[in-house]
Subunit: 274 residues, 6 copies
Amino acid sequence: MFYTDNRLQFPVRVERPNPLFARALQQAIGGVEGEIRVAMQYMFQAWGARGDPKYRDLLLNTAAEELGHIEMLATAVALNLEGAPLGLKEQVSSDPVGGAVLNGINMKNLLSAGLSAMPVDSDGVPFNMSHIYASGNIAADMGANVAAESTGRILAVRLYNMTDDPGMKEMLQYLIARDTMHQNQWLAAIEELGGNEAVFPIPNSHPQAEENTDFSYAFLGFQIDGIEMPQGRWSDGTSIDGKGTFEMRPMEALGEEPDLGRARPNSGAQSEQL
Amino acid sequence: MFYTDNRLQFPVRVERPNPLFARALQQAIGGVEGEIRVAMQYMFQAWGARGDPKYRDLLLNTAAEELGHIEMLATAVALNLEGAPLGLKEQVSSDPVGGAVLNGINMKNLLSAGLSAMPVDSDGVPFNMSHIYASGNIAADMGANVAAESTGRILAVRLYNMTDDPGMKEMLQYLIARDTMHQNQWLAAIEELGGNEAVFPIPNSHPQAEENTDFSYAFLGFQIDGIEMPQGRWSDGTSIDGKGTFEMRPMEALGEEPDLGRARPNSGAQSEQL
Amino acid sequence: MFYTDNRLQFPVRVERPNPLFARALQQAIGGVEGEIRVAMQYMFQAWGARGDPKYRDLLLNTAAEELGHIEMLATAVALNLEGAPLGLKEQVSSDPVGGAVLNGINMKNLLSAGLSAMPVDSDGVPFNMSHIYASGNIAADMGANVAAESTGRILAVRLYNMTDDPGMKEMLQYLIARDTMHQNQWLAAIEELGGNEAVFPIPNSHPQAEENTDFSYAFLGFQIDGIEMPQGRWSDGTSIDGKGTFEMRPMEALGEEPDLGRARPNSGAQSEQL
Amino acid sequence: MFYTDNRLQFPVRVERPNPLFARALQQAIGGVEGEIRVAMQYMFQAWGARGDPKYRDLLLNTAAEELGHIEMLATAVALNLEGAPLGLKEQVSSDPVGGAVLNGINMKNLLSAGLSAMPVDSDGVPFNMSHIYASGNIAADMGANVAAESTGRILAVRLYNMTDDPGMKEMLQYLIARDTMHQNQWLAAIEELGGNEAVFPIPNSHPQAEENTDFSYAFLGFQIDGIEMPQGRWSDGTSIDGKGTFEMRPMEALGEEPDLGRARPNSGAQSEQL
Amino acid sequence: MFYTDNRLQFPVRVERPNPLFARALQQAIGGVEGEIRVAMQYMFQAWGARGDPKYRDLLLNTAAEELGHIEMLATAVALNLEGAPLGLKEQVSSDPVGGAVLNGINMKNLLSAGLSAMPVDSDGVPFNMSHIYASGNIAADMGANVAAESTGRILAVRLYNMTDDPGMKEMLQYLIARDTMHQNQWLAAIEELGGNEAVFPIPNSHPQAEENTDFSYAFLGFQIDGIEMPQGRWSDGTSIDGKGTFEMRPMEALGEEPDLGRARPNSGAQSEQL
Amino acid sequence: MFYTDNRLQFPVRVERPNPLFARALQQAIGGVEGEIRVAMQYMFQAWGARGDPKYRDLLLNTAAEELGHIEMLATAVALNLEGAPLGLKEQVSSDPVGGAVLNGINMKNLLSAGLSAMPVDSDGVPFNMSHIYASGNIAADMGANVAAESTGRILAVRLYNMTDDPGMKEMLQYLIARDTMHQNQWLAAIEELGGNEAVFPIPNSHPQAEENTDFSYAFLGFQIDGIEMPQGRWSDGTSIDGKGTFEMRPMEALGEEPDLGRARPNSGAQSEQL
């Protein structure tokens, strides 16, 4: 169950409203690297977490935090849209540096939302909940979260580098710091689960005897003749999960050309296929 | 540039076609954990890879491999649909165990594709390319790939546990092994980039002095009064990136209730908001 | 800012797990009539609410409530999936009434989420955030909320009629009651804004002198010759907004056949169009 | 069955083509507040309307009208794209006011449609038919239609305020007037069904004895300690449906922390979860 | 402008309602091969048709026809859902042949639409308007229409083969015949435009001197060494557009390995990429 | 199975990077007319091709070619984004011609991909795999491919006309030529299958005696009284498939107004509908 206090988690201040920056901030709300994604992802992971309940609590706690981040960013979008042109005439005069302001905004922030934030990305594409990765496997979920917080922090850094509004920079410094923590936090959860050697390959509950072990630690090359395979840590030495030794070999087709036979009558194919 | 030889990477054999298993296999083709996703993800990561070219080559090599996996799975879907009912009458008699076969298939595999595979998931939802994570940051990309291969192997294991067709089990043992390798391979790439302490926080090119360091390694609690914060590796000790020390504290709102003021005339609001 | 206490808003109890009912419940989570929709809709309306702040607080309060409803339903889905078959063999024997259980589930609840809830609807389609209606007009928002709670309560009633599990019926009786309140609550907000005559037409800030008043209260008929126009409250008497009188008349085309002229060279048209 | 006469319902005239306004108009075609949505929504509501047939006829009649509105807007988009630049060079010289014209258009209107309209919104996102709300409950449908026409008229007003082209203003004055009528028309249908007290709570066919009446008219507070609940018409007095009395009380969790137990073997979880 | 007469274009009669067939019919409404698609496609093509107005009229005429087909199919879906179970208990007894009826329906037809049709496909996926192909090139549009009517007729034939309800077979015989006509009609339009030699390559307004003519009529082989290229009409003889001669040759990479250089500072990459 | 050699199929060279052109090129990657679409479409058609295997080989061969085209275009996008502004300040000074560069880019190319290509269209909308048309009918597939290559070449021509960068023009001349070949190639496949008279109506395996032949070659008019039907090759003469004679007649409704009766109790309708 969730509660609210109507206040912002961290102050949101905009000194020089910029509608183009409002558009960029939308990516941190409704982009696939954004805050709706992590908030909902942590919730659904929590609601499907079987086993030790501490992971459920950990996930719900951070989900609540992320809800507050969406709120901060939505407020920042609305504040950056203050003063944006509502008419085509208005926009020319309000545009001393030569760019037409309306060109650069998500039109829907004006037309659909009346100068407010929306759950869309920086090109106006609505967030799609298929991006909520919650696998029922606690280690995979933690890995997905490290990945989400990595792209999240990259995005926050790009936004930070884009603006020179002091209020926005301050807000983003907070969000970047939280992403630092969250990357570390989910990595810590993997360590709590035993670290890479205990955790991988995910799922660790599948007996490796029931995989085709000839191929479990082989880097296979799919180059045509005469092209070299790329070498690195992945081609040599003990595997990261500690359960095998990397090797490297070119691959060739082990199967035949498949043959699906003739089409069935009544299946809507051409007569020539029957 | 890509080439083909018309053959299958690994043999695909179905002893007892099962339309319901065809539906399940679709998840491995067009699901968010599926092979289209990794094939295209590795390609786009490669095409945006700046810096050391070996990562580009590594990514393209594995992309080519994954294309062959889609092909194997698409063949497996078509073979499992052999003999599926084309009519409502036919289905009753062909259904000794009591379940109506047509109930359990993705109807589109019959109606749209004529008993063949489609780029959709196991509930018939088309794959959406927003799931191609390619960030321009090589470490984040590797992390996204570990995550993708983790959910991919979980899915393959679930499919393996679902079927008892020997041909299908054999094919899945191969794919599970490849996912083992790929999890290790991308983890190896992170090690090649210096390991967790060099790589995190991602992006490592942002000076941490420019984040709000008060919040960089603090586990913040968002519980209402009287509820305990979840403890673990994340609440104590050196952070995983080696750059801070975890601490734990309850959070309270640092900002005020936001005030967007009155709506502007001509903005489509109600008069009462102006 | 949001908080949590890890507990459920209302008890969730399942006596006889039913995977098909789990599928149906998904509609109340990720369907367009579902709880993610209202939770996020009320948040975005709050974050764009200009004018009297009490509407912001009202919206955030109910958003927090709805988050707890998603949580209850996600728990209900997981509990209904307890004991669902993981294999094709298992399913036959576990299916005394003749239907193949796996046929009836959202396959992704098993394959992607490991027998847990997902942010998808009852056919496995992910929720899409374009359904978050937040217009920047407080009256339109309240109307959208009445509509959302109406379809929400219809859905809850259909689910209630579908199940005979006592625990599920109890949970749904709670949710149905909350939808009763929320329908009334948003209607009350419209009354607080002055009721239908003050509020409509939305937006009430547009001077009606600047619409084509010939057409403002006329029911226009688009039937071919000889077909009667449907009569009712809409064809006669004072309009509901109190600002006009309904009349009824057949419509005929007032414009000509449009002519876009020839295509431009270099525009990719056929030569014949130039 | 439908007929056409090739003519426009109302004249469409553009004096000064403006590609940026073409983009804005797209929202009224393919946006969620747009005309495709209402045209298709009224059709599907009609085709599922059980009970008194006059509602079916009413809906089909207005659907036919809305088809003509899409046609008008599509023509307006094409006329506004007349003269838009086809090349990057061309655009500089054609851009005296300083904004790069191509920046501001939906690129697809040029690249995909050759300077014509598309069924997409003002940011180029295709319309998605999940927005067709047709519930099988005639009262809920009427409410959804009031909501749709409310956001529709807000959008038309915003477009009206954006342009100063006399032809476009004239067309929009017609469309705004029709939205006035349609808001009133669907409200009139609710009155025909008995008005708020007869209609609500929707569906009115569910016996209220079978909801948890303790919660049917209570405004529940989800604030943390010390934060006040928002007061208004919703917290006091007779409910709008006339069937209860509003009251206000803080909410606390009535359920426990949920426990999904251990994961099942073969379900793809980590060993630690089993 | 469009008109209606409330009647069905052709009689729709269901003798033995079958909810599973209702689900299949949904594909013909909201599938990519369905009637919404062609109706809307022909409209948008008409509204963007520059040049000879007869194509606009032709397209609008057929669009009006297709609207009536959606109506017929929506009615057929509702009639096939008559008597479908509303409860889990009810479904067992109503299911003599052993399949659980609810398993086989689009759950949303019940939960969202109350036993009526929806603009979704046979797996419950909403139609997406990106499938409206309207290119601004009249010949390409005609070709897209031939393709649409081809998959449309395949679908209708598959539905015809699936059912043995006499009313449904009669309705489908009508729709199959109309698809025959429409395939021929759009092919006739291509002939009216001059036939394959005049029309191709599309667009015929681009001077072929400005393409790389070395590659205009060459079948390039992308096989690895030792695999033969597929031969046929495409590898030999005059090209279909009459403007070249087919030849066949293996392809090899003409470009180098691309090099995007180092990443820029501030671009969110890892330090190692700078 | 697929292979790669890391090289580009054809040289990709950009003399004057232009971020706006990068955005336009995205349409050729992730637009519905783009290269991902054809690459994946040809693969799925191949994997479902029953009957003569030469079509499978033909399709796979061209699929491999198209993968290389995506690669070329992705490289072109990245090269055109070289030097794009990363900050709002930077953009003003870098914008001599008056348009704000950031206005015109897909923001996600910067924020999500770090100045690289993405699988999205020119307005930032991700490619959706529902556009992969693979029907199980080889003739319908060939027709769909002609259509895809037609819109593909139109798009390439529009891009060619948009740019004056010599490198980009050279690359597009190659791609336009390949589209010429591919249009001819798929038309040749239709000829190989017997040409229009053998192939149509698709599917040719359905006995035409089982369609309602009264309507198979009739152009039906859906105009209201007094409006003429459009005449052309489609209204007179032998049909294109050689199996009938075109005629032309106005259509009138052959069915009645449908009646779905009363709603069922428990179906969530209003009492008035029962």
